[in-house]
């Protein structure tokens, strides 16, 4: 058997220094450090002279504080990173309801906007619809891009059940808005041709059941909403599709973030395949929180053997310490610790190799596990530095 392939290295510095890179999208399953990775990349890019805005969907207060902001909101706020590079850094957190409200306000006349905003159906849709966050993230990304105020936008995708929902958002919304159901609701059946009759039969079945399940009021609210919203549907779709196409351009780079664990890498694999299917440009994989032992020359097996030697050594003379002879317990303990670390490192490497075996061309960069969560810009810098150095887990 051939030795496992070494993946190409993901050179994030080259990526962020390349002025043609305009959008970086960080994606991956929940709990892998996606938001922190996005912020670290944003900071590092700003230190290299880029004008960066980081768009996060994660309301992590600590991250906001790490960037010296007491909170993040729907407006890009400047981060005081003491940059001498001529670059700049802004950060914002997506507020999906506000973003949605703003779109309604911007694209409908005041009366109609007020009508939509007050509709119970709209309120439910804008505050809790499972795909709204994904969709609004796309919308916000499009908005930020159109302002042209930043030359690099770093996006952290929503912590979806499946990270892939982000890409599905425009299509899902489109499917819903174009859906037969909506057409049935907006254009109650007219008698006439055969297929319309069929629709009509379908319509009464649908409304009948919906009334049964939801009650007549809900149906009425929904019809009112759909009618009021009607003129805006087209614009929504167009912008979503424009953002989708923007994501396919070479100025965009998708970075998949994963922890070196089987579940996270399974998701990452799936994501890589999906991006290829959608013709989205993949930058590579960030393997986050990789454990790197300090003394790699001593293998786990030899370390355990040495610990056993020392432990046996102590048994005949249990009072080793008081007798003034060297205390080997510390060395034995440290050797056991080292063995565990080596085993962990090997396991992590093995799952990473699995990924590379399936995706040999995907560049990979590793970030060493940090002893503490990020609390300040220095912490973000440390992650950026680890990301940019080729030696980690190499």
């Amino acid at each position: 058997m051939n030795p496992p392939a070494t993946p190409p290295w993901l050179d994030t510095d080259a990526l962020i220094e390349d002025r043609r890179t305009r959008i970086i999208v960080c994606c991956g399953s929940g709990g892998v450090g996606k938001t922190t990775a996005a912020a670290a990349i944003g900071l590092r890019a700003a230190e290299r002279g880029r004008h960066v805005v980081v768009l996060t969907v994660d309301p992590a207060r600590r991250l906001a504080q790490a960037m010296g902001l007491s909170y993040l909101d729907n407006i890009p706020r400047p981060v005081d990173a003491g940059l001498s590079s001529g670059g700049s850094l802004h950060a914002m957190m997506l507020d999906m309801k506000r973003t949605f409200d703003e779109i309604v306000a911007a694209h409908a006349d005041p009366d109609r906007a007020a009508q939509i905003l007050a509709n119970p159906f709209y309120q439910s849709l804008s505050s809790s619809f499972a795909g709204t966050q994904e969709y609004m993230a796309m919308e916000k990304l499009g908005q930020l891009h159109r302002t042209d105020e930043w030359d690099l936008i770093v996006v952290d995708t929503p912590p979806s059940r499946s990270a892939l929902d982000f890409l599905d958002a425009p299509e899902r919304l489109g499917r819903f808005l174009d859906g037969r159901l909506i057409r049935l609701l907006t254009a109650p059946a007219k008698p006439g041709r055969a297929y319309l009759k069929m629709l009509s039969a379908g319509f009464s079945l649908v409304t009948g059941t919906l009334t049964k399940v939801l009650g007549a009021q809900v149906l009425k609210d929904m019809q009112t909403f759909v009618t009021a919203f009607d003129t805006m549907f087209g614009g929504f779709r167009e912008r979503a599709e424009a953002t989708y196409r923007l994501l396919q351009t070479p100025g965009t780079s998708f970075i998949v973030v994963a922890a070196p664990e089987p579940d996270a890498l399974r998701e990452a694999s799936y994501f890589v395949e999906r991006l290829a299917g959608e013709r989205m440009p993949l930058g590579g994989l960030i393997l986050n929180r990789v454990h790197v032992p300090a003394a790699t020359r001593l293998s786990a097996a030899r370390s355990i053997a040495a610990a056993e030697t020392l432990e046996n050594h102590e048994i005949p003379n249990g009072t080793a310490e008081s007798a003034g002879t060297p205390r080997y317990a510390l060395a034995a303990g440290v050797l056991r610790l080292h063995a565990e670390r080596m085993q962990l490192a090997i396991r992590e490497r093995r799952v990473a190799e699995h990924f590379t075996a399936a995706h040999p061309t995907v560049p990979v960069a590793a970030v060493a596990a940090q002893p503490e969560d990020v609390h300040d810009l220095e912490g973000l810098q440390a992650i950026g530095l680890s990301l940019a150095s080729r030696s980690v887990a190499g």
Binding site: G30, G31, V32, A60, R62, F121, S124, S128, F129, A130, P159, R161, S162, R172, R175, F176, R180, L181, G202, L205, V206, T209, L210, K212, V213, L214, G215, Q217, V218, D221, A259, P262, A264, P293, A294, A295, L298, A306, A307, T309, L310, P326, R327, Y328, A329, L330, A331, A332, G333, V334, L335, R336, L337, H338, E340, R341, R347, P371, E372, D373
Partner: protein, 334 residues
């Protein structure tokens, strides 16, 4: 015989949430397995369509049907119980609902084709949530021959970020439907969720963000009037060394000479260099142990029962799951 009852006598619906990456599904599965003792019948429900349970129990993807996936650990000559699993999807739950309340499953299938289900899951999230929680509460209350079909139901629920909204079904739906059948259904579901029969457990690790989310989640559940459950601390690794050594190391004090002597005695070459490397590792370890300890104290402040699950280093398989179930039994979680 165990000396004491489990901490959750009387609880029949166990909702397990937690931050992504903390092992929420593993904790839910281990708890379900632990509850399936002495011939008790337990149902484990997955609601997010990830088929995480099928992977854990090493079986083909779960259909929308309650299927036996395992047998709980037997103890001292007594048989274990039966563990069933179910993957709930909103579509199946909607058809179920139509069947159960209106006897119109057939119409439901036609509606699926017309996009009603898309409608339900896409635009009416409250409805989709109430259908999923509704399935869990239905299984909890289901009776056959005068007694409950399941002794306990464990739900692998959405993560902490979404759990409040997920469980707060009656409010979610009331925004949508002030009156009507779905409202009535939601109110029934809400009553079960807020009854002493239900408890919400939190899976966490000893890291800052998951602990913070656990504390926030507990506060949110308290506000919702839902019974707080236990804190399941997952992936705990042992300290491994005496506290005094760790304490000194956390402050950067390691006797490298002492380590080097030991390494030399064990016959390892280049003991001095090796000792410096190992000292670095010890300091890192000691610091993370100290951090773990800090997070443990944070969690203790919440005042809820806590259970610690060891890190299963070779990845969770069925054997690992049984081990965790046993640990949970020993600690009184089941």
């Amino acid at each position: 015989m165990r000396a004491r009852d489990s901490d959750w006598e009387g609880v029949r619906l166990h909702v397990v949430t937690g931050k992504g990456g903390t092992g929420k599904t593993t904790v839910a599965a281990a708890l379900a397995l632990a509850l399936a003792h002495d011939g008790r019948k337990v149902l484990l429900i997955e609601v997010e369509g990830r088929q995480g349970l099928a992977r854990l129990f090493d079986c083909p993807p779960l259909p929308y049907a309650e299927r036996k996936v395992g047998i709980g650990p037997g103890e001292e000559g007594r048989a274990g119980g039966d563990l069933y699993a179910l993957a709930v999807d909103p579509e199946g739950a909607l058809l179920d609902y139509l069947e159960m309340f209106y006897g119109i499953r057939h119409a439901g299938q036609a509606l699926t084709r017309l996009g009603l289900v898309d409608f339900a899951t896409t635009i009416a999230p409250g409805l989709s949530d109430v259908l999923r929680t509704g399935k869990a509460t239905e299984a909890t209350r289901r009776k056959a021959g005068g007694r409950e079909v399941y002794d306990a139901v464990v739900m692998d629920a959405p993560p902490t970020g979404r759990i409040g909204r997920f469980l707060n079904v009656s409010v979610e739906v009331s925004g949508l439907a002030k009156v009507g059948p779905v409202r009535t259904h939601a109110d029934t579901v809400a009553r079960v969720i807020r009854s002493p029969q239900t408890a919400v457990h939190f899976a966490t690790t000893l890291e800052e963000m998951p602990v913070q989310e656990t504390l926030d989640g507990l506060a949110e559940m308290r506000e919702l009037g839902v019974q707080l459950g236990g804190i399941f601390i997952n992936k705990v690794y042992p300290a491994g060394l005496p506290e005094s050594d760790l304490k000194a190391a956390a402050e950067g004090h390691v006797d490298e000479a002492e380590i080097a002597l030991g390494l030399k005695a064990a016959g390892l070459a280049d003991a001095q260099t090796l000792a410096s490397g190992l000292a670095v590792e010890l300091i890192e370890h000691a610091r993370s142990v100290a951090l773990q300890e800090r997070e443990r104290r944070e969690l203790a402040g919440a005042g809820q029962p806590r259970y610690e699950l060891p890190a299963i280093t070779d990845g969770i398989d069925l054997g690992g799951l049984y081990r965790l179930a046993e640990v949970l039994r020993e600690q009184g979680a089941a």
